[in-house]
């Protein structure tokens, strides 16, 4: 009972006072800049007031948020499955690792913009283009992170496990996978942030839905308040996804507390 209480006493998420204060200071400074902008020769539309931004937020179309979210989550799941499967294969086969590792490093060095241009030139479908860019950017991160984590599983534990003669599947399911769970969560957090940024850029090119597309429309209309509103949505989306992952992480990694 005492153990259970101890485990449950650890807070899942905290929202420190300092964060609130710094956000409040930013909001006040922004509002002041918006108020004084015309007198400083800055066009009023460049720094919209919070009221104007709030009005823009009120006009946000939820379907675009859902579409972007679906693209991010879908592509991350595909990237994770592919990355983990290839990492397991590379862990098992040194030869495969020797051939694939250099290619993965090259993939990781290619700029996101290049991938977007390749996708536009290679594929006709918008959804496939966006999915391709997200997977090709996030997949290697999952692969490298999980492969490194597998290699860092202590030799003593691998030795102990093998002494009980597991099948290959049991070895991965009972030892390797649980052992790399902390790294998997870290990798997910990094990739969520990466995917949110990449999807926005990918949607700017050719998409007719999603937050990136709406940002493009706002830019064409010179509406800084709309750009600001969609950016707030993006940041909020990122925080919500990260909080969700943190909650699952806390649940699955209770043994660490």
């Amino acid at each position: 009972m005492a153990l259970e209480e101890h485990r449950e006493s650890v807070p899942v998420l905290s929202f420190p006072r300092q964060t609130l204060v710094s956000l409040l200071i930013f909001a006040i400074v922004w509002e002041a800049m918006s108020y004084f902008a015309p007198s400083l020769g800055i066009p009023p539309f460049a720094i919209p007031s919070w009221l104007k931004i709030a009005k823009s937020i009120a006009t946000i179309t939820p379907i675009d948020v859902v579409v972007t979210l679906a693209r991010v989550v879908g592509a991350l799941i595909v990237s994770f499955v592919l990355g983990l499967a290839l990492a397991m294969a590379m862990y098992r086969s040194e030869t495969l690792d020797k051939y694939v590792h250099p290619m993965v490093r090259i993939l990781m060095a290619v700029p996101v913009v290049s991938w977007i241009l390749f996708a536009v030139l290679w594929f006709p479908g918008v959804e496939f283009r966006i999915g391709f860019v997200l997977v090709v950017v996030c997949g290697p991160v999952f692969l490298i992170d999980t492969l490194d984590a597998m290699r860092n599983v202590p030799r003593e534990l691998r030795h102990m496990m093998r002494s009980f003669r597991p099948t290959t599947l049991q070895f991965f399911l009972k030892l390797m996978l649980p052992a790399i769970v902390p790294t998997i969560f870290t990798s997910w957090k990094v990739n969520i942030s990466l995917a949110i940024r990449v999807v926005t850029i990918a949607e700017l090119v050719g998409a007719v839905t999603g937050i990136g597309h709406q940002l493009s429309v706002a830019q064409e209309l010179f509406s800084v308040s709309d750009v600001f509103a969609w950016t707030i949505v993006l940041v909020a989306l990122l925080f919500v996804l990260e909080a969700l992952v943190a909650r699952i992480e806390h649940r699955l990694l209770r043994w660490r507390t």
């Binding site: 102990m160 002494s163 009980f164 003669r165 009972k174 030892l175 649980p178 052992a179 043994w255």
Partner: protein
């Protein structure tokens, strides 16, 4: 030869040789040089030797993780390396460190080998609980390893090994890292349970006191696992244990059998 393994089979080691190539210098290192050893069913044997004498390599080969360079280990008529899967559920190990999985509770750690053997969930739980209780951990079955003391963690590791109900038990310096009192207590429990279970037990140690305390028999390994002496402890009355200890120590220092060991 016994292939069904209804009881522990005889272990025969003949001409066993293990040569490693050093990764950095490329030099060959002879870890085990033509070892011959026979271990009878249900025997409790302590293998004693200095650090680096090849004890742990022998241990790895006994559990089938390393192949011999030459010679063989036969358990019944099977090889622990060549017939690796055959020994699932027939052999269990206790290591120097507990090697518990930190994300599993004591109960789940003790269940691990039974899960690998494909035992029904109810049987896994029952067997694991039985052995945890025997090792005095009934109040800690839901504790994670980091919530237990070193001695308690090693008890879980011992429960994990016994839960297999193995025919051959191997322990590699299993009590060496614990304080003297805990080690002695745990060693006694281990031996009592090993004898009750009827398994053949092989204990590897560098501590002479431990070897004398546990073994029906003591195999003294010199460099490259050369068998310097094969001592049947029952031939030595307890009051001569001090002399036995000195003789083993002299054997290890001179790398040749002390004459006193022939007398018994």
């Amino acid at each position: 030869m016994n292939t069904t393994m209804s009881g522990p089979p005889t272990i025969e080691v003949r001409g066993l040789r293990k040569v490693f190539r050093q990764a950095t210098s490329g030099q060959q290192v002879i870890a085990i040089d033509r070892l011959d050893l026979t271990i009878q069913p249900k025997e409790v044997i302590a293998i004693v030797g200095q650090t680096g004498c090849g004890k742990s390599t022998f241990f790895d080969m006994m559990i089938g993780l390393e192949p011999p360079t030459e010679g063989y280990i036969h358990i019944g008529d099977k090889s622990p390396y060549g017939d690796f899967d055959f020994f699932r559920g027939k052999m269990a190990t206790v290591f120097q460190q507990d090697r518990l999985l930190p994300w599993r509770t004591a109960l789940d750690n003790a269940k691990l080998p039974l899960e690998l053997m494909g035992k029904p969930e109810e049987e896994q739980r029952e067997r694991a609980l039985t052995w945890l209780n025997k090792l005095g951990l009934s109040n800690f079955v839901n504790a994670y390893p980091h919530e237990l003391s070193g001695g308690m963690r090693q008890r879980v590791a011992i429960a994990r090994a016994f839960a297999v109900q193995p025919e051959i038990l191997l322990a590699d310096e299993a009590f060496g890292h614990l304080d003297e009192v805990t080690a002695a207590e745990l060693r006694d429990t281990f031996l009592k349970l090993a004898r009750e279970s009827g398994a053949t037990a092989i204990l590897i140690t560098h501590q002479l006191e431990e070897a004398i305390a546990v073994g029906d028999r003591i195999a003294v390994f010199g460099k490259s696992a050369k068998l310097l002496a094969d001592i049947h402890v029952e031939q030595w009355p307890k009051e001569r244990y001090g002399e036995l200890r000195e003789a083993i120590q002299a054997t290890l220092q001179s790398q040749s059998a002390d004459p006193r060991l022939n007398g018994g």
